[in-house]
């Protein structure tokens, strides 16, 4: 278990989900004649003018608004993603300039499949917890792509979540402890310069997703001396609708505990953003004193588990920026043709 020498917490949070959706059935219409089930009902689709950077900017702005912290006070802007628009050139500096930070900050990009955002979060905890930084912004954002016709195409979606880490006494939720568990498990990867990832089908399940999430979560619970029942809410990484519900059940969490943070059935897997966004959506409805467990997962592989406690400050700050519900409400469905045009799947010559 990792704990900071100085208590830390979330001072603000912000989310982003694009306006557009494609229904799982619409993708199935193209590839399976509509036969069979779909892993999520719909997934978010980024507009032509959206990418990891633009979504990070909006989520970051909301996090700053909620915290009431001016951008100039930030010491850290870190963006975790598997879809950074540039292979070489940080997303972090663009996001920082758009937020209007001082140039005297640490800005960098993280990469760890769907866990890149939580890597940034853990590192931000270290920066603030060690006293190196007063305010650190950790963002997870992705415009994930699946190969046309591949199982991933149904779920790989777009979104962002930003968490502003600061001292626990100013927090709307304290982060009490975290555990990180990793191993070299090749369940999913994308070679440099390739557009779509490769995944190991059933191998992505038990030895990968389930083993890592359960390892990190049970270790955190045992070291804290708590059980699943001690948490008001829980969020697990959501590569589809089924895995998080299954792992929650195996770990002893109820449907009610994971419901507020379960977003994948509606927007798909926003990769680096999905677990963090689930936490934000949970904070949207949480009460002071509530306890939250979040375990993220990234292929390749690793899981980070966090224990949080909501404070009184949440009630005052929650309404300062749009809630997840506002982003979920503005859904505009597109068909596969529009989706293909927007996602660069048409050969334009």
């Amino acid at each position: 278990m990792m704990q900071t020498s100085r208590p830390v917490g979330l001072l603000g949070y912000g989310v982003y989900v694009p306006r557009y959706r494609i229904a799982g059935k619409e993708i199935a219409r193209i590839w399976t004649d509509g036969q069979g089930g779909v892993p999520v009902e719909a997934k978010s689709v980024p507009g032509l003018d959206e990418d990891t950077i633009t979504m990070s900017i909006e989520a970051g702005r909301s996090a700053l608004l909620r915290a009431g912290v001016p951008a100039q006070a930030l010491s850290v802007v870190w963006v975790g993603s598997e879809s950074h628009p540039y292979s070489v050139k940080p997303s972090g500096t663009i996001v920082a300039e758009a937020l209007g930070t001082s140039p005297w900050i640490s800005a960098a990009d993280y990469q760890f499949a769907c866990k890149a955002g939580s890597e940034a979060l853990t590192a931000a905890m270290g920066m603030v917890g060690s006293g190196m930084a007063q305010y650190a912004l950790a963002i997870g954002a992705d415009t994930a792509q699946g190969r046309p016709g591949d199982a991933l195409e149904y779920t790989a979606s777009a979104g962002a979540a930003a968490l502003l880490v600061g001292a626990a006494e100013d927090a709307l939720a304290t982060i009490d402890a975290t555990v990180s568990y990793v191993s070299d498990t090749p369940d999913f990867f994308r070679r440099a310069d390739r557009p779509y990832p490769v995944h190991g089908h059933r191998f992505t399940g038990e030895p990968a997703y389930f083993h890592h999430i359960k390892s990190a979560t049970t270790r955190l619970l045992s070291e804290l001396g708590r059980t699943a029942a001690d948490f008001t809410y829980a969020i697990f990484h959501q590569p589809n609708a089924k895995f998080p519900q299954t792992v929650a059940k195996q770990l002893g969490f109820s449907e009610a505990q994971i419901k507020p943070g379960l977003l994948s059935p509606l927007i798909g897997n926003t990769y680096s953003a999905i677990a963090l966004a689930g936490l934000c959506a949970t904070l949207d409805i949480a009460r002071p004193g509530d306890t939250i467990l979040m375990t993220t997962y990234g292929s390749g592989s690793g899981a980070d588990a966090y224990a949080l406690t909501v404070t009184d400050a949440l009630l005052e700050r929650r309404g300062r920026a749009p809630l997840m519900a506002a982003y979920l409400a503005r859904q505009e469905f597109v068909d596969y043709a529009v989706y293909a045009k927007w996602r660069g799947k048409l050969v334009l010559g």
């Binding site: 507009g47 032509l48 003018d49 900017i57 663009i94 300039e97 758009a98 334009l348």
Partner: protein
């Protein structure tokens, strides 16, 4: 490739930073060099709030080459709450649902992709205020 130009434009393009006159309080956008009779020190950088209402809007169906792959798209004149007008694209909305006077807010979006070996250009657009 306009590398230096894009680098110069960051404050205005990324976060709608204009100028405010230090004594009169007049706000203007885009930032400009001093006019005849003014000194540069009279104006300070001033971040606009990015909220306002639609003064007029139009749908673009024939665009310059860098935007040809994005048609149709919407452009507008937006009356900012600071009182000035700004020209920009609208995003995340449909023309049929728009009306003059509608509240909009600034977002930073990817404008044009200058090719696989080119720079990505980010700048302000406006969208209907998220309820």
């Amino acid at each position: 490739m306009d590398l230096a130009k894009r680098w110069r434009q960051k404050p205005a393009y990324y976060r709608l930073e204009g100028q405010r006159h230090r004594t009169s309080g007049e706000v203007r956008f885009p930032p400009q060099p001093p006019r005849v009779g003014e000194s540069g020190e009279e104006w300070e950088a001033y971040p606009l709030r990015g909220t306002g209402e639609i003064y007029s809007f139009a749908g673009v169906r024939t665009a310059a080459p860098e935007y040809a792959a994005q048609t149709p798209y919407l452009v507008a004149l937006v009356r900012l709450d600071e009182g000035l007008l700004v020209s920009a694209q609208l995003t995340d909305c449909d023309e049929a649902e728009l009306q003059i006077g509608q509240r909009v807010e600034m977002v930073t979006r990817r404008m044009s992709d200058t090719g696989v070996d080119g720079l990505l250009v980010y700048a302000y657009k406006f969208r209907p205020v998220l309820e």
